[in-house]
């Protein structure tokens, strides 16, 4: 069936924000993890604020997973990968893929912070004909490498990106972030096996290990533990970290030391940063009231 895709115009970069990002991120990339940590934490806080107001304006969203993944996202996009928001399709760019696409608000807030598009547009999240769809769509949002939303898609695609770089002998790298519940999808284990077989040392897969999925704890739904052993037995170099410690995250994003692809199991807290949301399953996609948003922003300001 041939037909035009969606109708709304794609977003364009915010040149001035991109300029700031270019300089600051270059500095953060070059800095040691210890040096960069505080600044990355600061950016993460402002991204968390945007996530909350973005979801507030939409009246929908997946706030719990957005807040658990924020530090992982910010450290990837601000502190690790080489990206240029003004030329988001340049072949030599590093690739970032959010496999847990339901956390679009976190991705959009981070991309906006980098200048991939104007931050003001975040208020259009999920509005009629908005390019900021409930799940990321690459033809609409610069910085999105592949459309995600159904779980278990981003990882195989990221594997293909990394394999492509390896085939071309190029040095750019790929980071993909998965949900822990998402690891129940068999397609991910197919990709894990492929990446190990092809020794894709240029690929880092990060599991946002918040121990909750949509309806309950992961271990009560379908046991993932021992998760590190699973990855290791699939041929990956495994790094287990605190997924809210920017220094640890930046260290874990460092290149493979074994020639094998790197799996980062990032222990996180769903709803991180907002006390009444933390580690509570109902905040998977519950929408905060205006009062709750006010309280949450207040907590983040502390």
């Amino acid at each position: 069936m041939t037909a035009a895709l969606e109708s709304a115009a794609p977003l364009r970069p915010d040149e001035s924000a991109a300029d700031t990002y270019g300089q600051r991120s270059a500095r953060l990339r070059a800095a040691s993890p210890a040096e960069a940590a505080a600044e990355l934490a600061e950016i993460s806080t402002s991204v968390r604020r945007d996530i909350l107001t973005t979801i507030q304006s939409a009246g929908m969203g997946h706030v719990g997973g957005d807040l658990s993944v924020t530090d992982l996202l910010v450290t990837a996009l601000w502190g690790t990968l080489r990206l240029d928001p003004t030329t988001p399709d340049t072949p030599q760019r590093d690739r970032f893929v959010l496999s847990k696409g339901h956390c679009a608000a976190a991705l959009y807030s981070t991309l906006a912070s980098c200048g991939f598009f104007p931050r003001a547009r975040l208020s259009e999240f999920m509005a009629p004909l908005s390019p900021l769809n409930g799940h990321p769509a690459r033809l609409k949002v610069p910085g999105v490498e592949t459309n995600t939303g159904p779980l278990g898609h981003g990882f195989p695609v990221a594997t293909g990106c990394a394999l492509g770089a390896q085939l071309r002998g190029e040095t750019w790298r790929t980071i993909v972030v998965l949900g822990d519940g998402e690891m129940q999808e068999g397609s991910n284990w197919e990709a894990a096996m492929t990446a190990a077989h092809y020794k894709l040392a240029n690929l880092t897969a990060v599991v946002d290990r918040n121990r909750l999925q949509q309806g309950a704890r992961t271990e009560d739904t379908k046991t993932l533990e021992p998760l590190a052993e699973k990855w290791a037995s699939f041929g990956w170099e495994v790094r287990v970290i605190d997924g809210h410690d920017h220094r640890a995250i930046k260290e874990a994003y460092a290149a493979s030391t074994t020639g094998r692809p790197v799996a980062v199991i990032a222990n996180t807290v769903k709803g991180k940063g907002v006390s009444f949301m933390e580690d509570r399953v109902e905040w998977h996609h519950k929408v905060p009231t205006d009062e709750q948003v006010r309280l949450a922003l207040e907590e983040l300001n502390r």
Partner: protein, 318 residues
């Protein structure tokens, strides 16, 4: 302009799904529910409370969801597989083909939040393809309930029939459209409104809008017949044929792609048996972002849109 159907109270049929499923499970121990981390979104909270051991959650794993269900059927259970329609049909298609339809297992596939019920979540979460995909799985019955009563009947029918069945469970709120005492039979459409000029054949969310269209058309002196084609498979070929013979044209309306769903099923009967103009309404391609109501409006899937298509058909026929 508001129509009678639009003024009626509307219902989220998920409540009826949950209620009827529990009722069936109470009287038939073979019934279990199987879901993919979708206890809430598949409306199984209540089922779990009442039958904690009979709710099986396989986690986020749709291939396994359908395969395990086929195995449960092998073991003598009647599994209601409950998952968001796009993932159930798209991710587990080969399992539906091989493990359920071809193996001929009595598995009842419940596509939750079908069509564009997940409007703002975008095309990956829309299930506009399911009717086309499922129609191309031999041996699968396909039911698209239009209201609370039909939702309940569909569940009961699927248990009694013993056949592999796909049911689209309505989420977008709809008014009651089923006439009291209307039979619920495979291959039998309900003629909700009789009419002689033109026929609207609709399913699911489109049925009440078709009724709205008939009301609009009536004010313009056009007599429209409205058929609720609850079973897309087996199709009520006789009802289509009668519409082709007795009215001047047919409009089909479905919350789904135009390529291979209800419209295609109707067009086959028309072109092979009795020619009459057909106008298909549905979704042409991946939809943009927006609420379900917005998107239905966007694609002309409204009483006005259906009425307009009916007038066009009549113009062509004349």
């Amino acid at each position: 302009m508001t129509t009678a159907a639009e003024q009626s109270p509307t219902y989220d049929c998920r409540a009826d799904f949950a209620d009827e499923l529990a009722a069936l499970a109470r009287s038939d121990e073979r019934i279990v529910a199987v879901c993919n981390d979708s206890v809430g979104s598949s409306n199984l909270v209540r089922f779990r409370e009442e039958f904690p051991t009979r709710l099986i959650n396989v986690g986020i794993a749709e291939q396994d969801l359908v395969g395990v269900s086929a195995g449960l059927a092998n073991a003598g259970f009647i599994p209601f597989v409950s998952a968001a329609a796009p993932f159930l049909t798209g991710r587990a298609l080969e399992q539906i083909k091989a493990d359920v339809a071809y193996t001929h297992r009595h598995v009842i596939l419940c596509g939750q939040s079908p069509g564009m019920a997940y409007g703002e979540l975008g095309p990956t979460h829309h299930s506009i393809e399911d009717l086309s995909w499922m129609r191309a799985v031999p041996g699968l019955e396909i039911i698209v309930p239009a209201d609370p009563a039909e939702t309940r009947s569909a569940l009961r029918w699927a248990v009694a029939s013993g056949k592999p069945t796909y049911i689209r469970i309505p989420r977008f709120k709809v008014p009651a459209v089923t006439p009291a005492g209307a039979p619920f039979e495979a291959g039998r459409a309900t003629r909700i409104v009789d009419g002689t000029d033109v026929t609207v054949i609709a399913v699911g969310t489109m049925v009440s809008r078709a009724l709205g269209a008939a009301a609009l058309l009536e004010r313009q002196g056009i007599s429209a017949r409205v058929l609720n084609m609850t079973f897309v498979e087996p199709l009520d070929r006789e009802a289509v044929l009668a519409a082709a013979r007795e009215t001047s044209g047919i409009v089909t309306a479905e919350e789904g792609l135009l390529s291979g769903g209800l419209g295609a099923a109707v067009a086959r009967v028309v072109t092979e048996r009795h020619l009459v103009p057909v106008r298909m309404l549905g979704v042409p391609s991946f939809a943009p972002t927006g609420s379900t109501s917005f998107l239905l409006e966007h694609f002309g899937l409204t009483a006005e849109g259906i009425a307009e298509a009916a007038r066009e058909i009549l113009d062509r026929a004349r």
